[in-house]
């Protein structure tokens, strides 16, 4: 290589590096600036604690939306295979929202479409961040961390309503229950089927057969549990508070996790239990009154951990 060629290359290389150096400094300054000015959407650690104890934390006893002050809201969300609890969050536009979120079982993600919200839900950590939704509309919430066989179906919704519309909706929901004489809406099998197909079908399947060695069957099995002494109560606890630990179902071991569904209403819990107990091979196996919403309510007062629910199995004479 000729000497002048070598020098020309060296000269251009110095210029190239100078430009790159300036570019990187500019990038770094912008990163620091934008985070300092608008970093509230970044998930930060609120507290640590065993995931099985989540049910005991006040904000997660019945996760959802709470008004905490004028135009201020708190949203608590639990990620669990394979849904967000609650699946639907309704908020007024323009409100300052503080989120608290965690996972009950494995890693999940919480990414809200068209926003900067993107937080890893890690068992053992409660994340918190703030956000204001200014545009009304439906925002898709996707789990973006692989969490198991039905990961793709872990999609929730944040519905942002104009402030007046939101207020009207709140009033409507606060209205007194339906007039006497009407059949209580909660316990219909149609509602149960809807709850089942939204929340349960990903693991337990439309056939109620589950997935071999991964998710236990409900068909036949649910009825067998129900008829045990204490079985009726046990099933309510499993639905409200979840279950962890290795269980034996008809000779097959399952070591997965049952999420907690305390974010569902008493009517929905009762309806889905009735639906399961009257479907597949459970049909006709169960005698006694169907669950009513009132049957569920008393269990809300005594939150259990999924491990405590597991220990109930011994008490009602099931194999652990």
């Amino acid at each position: 290589m000729r000497e002048e060629q070598h020098e020309a290359i060296a000269r251009w290389e110095r210029r190239w590096l100078a430009v790159m150096g300036v570019m990187l400094v500019v990038i770094v300054v912008f990163i620091a600036y934008s985070l300092a000015m608008e970093g509230a959407h970044i998930g930060q650690l609120s507290q640590r604690g065993a995931p099985v104890e989540l049910n005991r934390l006040e904000m997660f006893q019945s996760p959802g939306v709470r008004e905490t002050g004028p135009n201020q809201f708190q949203v608590s969300v639990v990620g669990q295979a394979f849904s967000f609890a609650p699946a639907l969050v309704q908020l007024p536009a323009g409100a300052e929202v503080t989120f608290f979120a965690s996972s009950r079982d494995v890693l999940h993600g919480y990414q809200v479409q068209h926003t900067n919200i993107n937080v890893e839900l890690i068992p053992g950590e409660v994340a918190t961040w703030r956000y204001t939704f200014n545009e009304p509309g439906e925002y898709r919430v996707s789990c973006n961390e692989y969490c198991g066989i039905s990961h793709q179906n872990m999609i929730g919704t944040i519905q942002v309503l104009p402030a007046e519309e939101y207020a009207a909706l709140q009033e409507q929901e606060a209205a007194p229950p339906a007039a006497e004489g009407e059949e209580p809406a909660g316990v219909s099998l149609a509602l149960g089927a809807e709850v089942y197909n939204t929340n349960c079908v990903a693991c337990h399947q439309a056939t109620g057969e589950g997935l071999p060695a991964v998710f236990p069957p409900l068909s036949g099995h649910a009825a067998n549990v129900y008829v045990l002494d204490g079985g009726r109560e046990y099933l309510v606890n499993v639905l409200l508070y979840g279950l962890v630990g290795a269980i034996d179902v008809e000779g097959v071991t399952y070591n997965g996790v049952m999420p907690a569904w305390s974010q569902l209403s008493d009517e929905q819990i009762a309806a889905v239990l009735n639906y399961v107990l009257s479907s597949w091979e459970n049909e006709g196996q169960v005698e006694g009154a169907p669950y009513q919403a009132e049957d569920i309510r008393p269990f809300r007062g005594e939150p259990q951990t999924p491990e405590e629910v597991f220990s109930l199995r011994g008490l009602i004479g099931m194999d652990q």
Binding site: G39, L45, A81, I122, G124, C147
Partner: protein
Amino acid sequence: MTTGTVAVGRVRAALAHPEKRVTLAFLVTGFAALLVGALIGPLQALNYAGVDLYSYVPILASYYQGLTLHGVLNALVFTTFAICGLILYLPAREMNIRPNMTWVWSAYWLMLGGLLMAGIAVATNTSSVMYTFYPPLMGHWGFYIGLTLVVLGSLMVGGHVIHLRYMWKRDHPDQATPIVAYMSVVTWYMWFVAVLGLVIEMVFFLIPWSLGIIDGVDPQLARTLFWYTGHPIVYFWLLPAYVSWYGLVPRQAGGELVSDGLARLAFLMFLLFSTPVGFHHQFTDPGIPAAWKLIHSLMTMMVGIPSLLTAFTVAASLEIGGRRRGGRGVFGWIPKLPWGNAAFTAQVLAMISFIFGGAGGIINASFNLNVLVHNTTWVPGHFHVTVGTATTLTFMGIAFWLVPHLTRKPLFSNRLALWASWLWFVGMMVFALGMHWQGLQSVPRRAHVSNLAENLQGAYAEAAVPAFVTGISGVILFFAVILFFTVLFGTLFARRQLTEAETPEIPWAQDVVIHNEGITKFLDRLVFWVAAAFVLVIIAYAPVLIDMFLNQVPVGGLRLW
């Protein structure tokens, strides 16, 4: 020539360079893993286009098992095996020292054993935990032990290359380490610094946990240990490609390496800055304080510099080649490059893809921008132009001359090899376009979106156009895979033997003795630089990691697939 003389010739070649055979074993095993892994790839691309072909592939229990197999075989197995072959053989030949064959073959068999263990675990659907294997999802113990053995074998090879350089230095006290050996040894030192996190995660947490010796693992701590290795591992994949780009490709272009000193400096910067940057994979983790994420974000920008240096130096080296071949004007040298040579073209296409990979990487490393794309399809879009093209297509290009060099068999078809290279390049570019674009619409990565539940159909309808683009790329890449492996196996199983004169030589770009003086001597003090790298790692990681170790929340393992 009779068969007898061929056999004698072969034996003589093997005796002269017995490391050829082990190099070939590493390469062929690596490419075999790539064949299986890459054949699953098109299914995944089509998944994003809404086409679900998994029910037609009975050996795969689910999309997620297929994806685990794809990631483990391509990103972990193919790379590690190929790298162990390449940057063992090249430095040994350059320094003209024969490796200890027993040691190196032991490493190979250990790695193969590990590969079989992990492979069986994934194939039986007991370990569909992806190649990131985050707890609490728990795979079979064979999966974790197998992968650990693969890593241990690679460390045996790396340690041996470091030892070879030590012996060479002893015999050549006045000379600086030759350039290819220098770059290879720095890569291995970097791997030793980088691998610590993964080894601790495996040996003290995941293996005892999967064997039932300990009940729980803290997911945040495990993730942090994983990403301690998980970022520099991408440089472990990339640097062997850089070895070829700096040390060999300029010669194939008809030029020379323009700056020995800058090449060394670039590699040293990778040694220093590859590891203390892992939090940029954890920007969305609540358990890591934002200030530390910002520090790692800034450190990551530092790793941009050696890649930008490389872009300049390598391009200048190619330009010299083009001008020597008669190129005139600002761009006139480009068409004069040897585009008809598949070994060259594949590697230059790999370099071009890395321009996009590097630019995307700067976006990923920017704390504020990352939240838009974190864990969306953007991320696989990104690493398919980095490891999936920059590294993989470079290794393919190297194979086009190295396999004939090692086996003395003619390349099956230069023309098909060119087609394979271009199709791979174009396919990956189209894939990256579709995936990056979908990522901007917040489509999650690793999701079986072609099999959404009834009530969720159409959830990602707004990303239909980029999803379709991704699907197309799957078809292009399928043909690229078929062509490449036709060339590879066609070469390996060829009957004809090349004569000694026909056999490709190693295209050393720099064939001069570098005296160990001045700045080069300073850069050649590798133990000092490794110590400096450790100091940076301790500064960047110790406060956060110590806190995590002291405040663990262990959780039990779950199988949810």
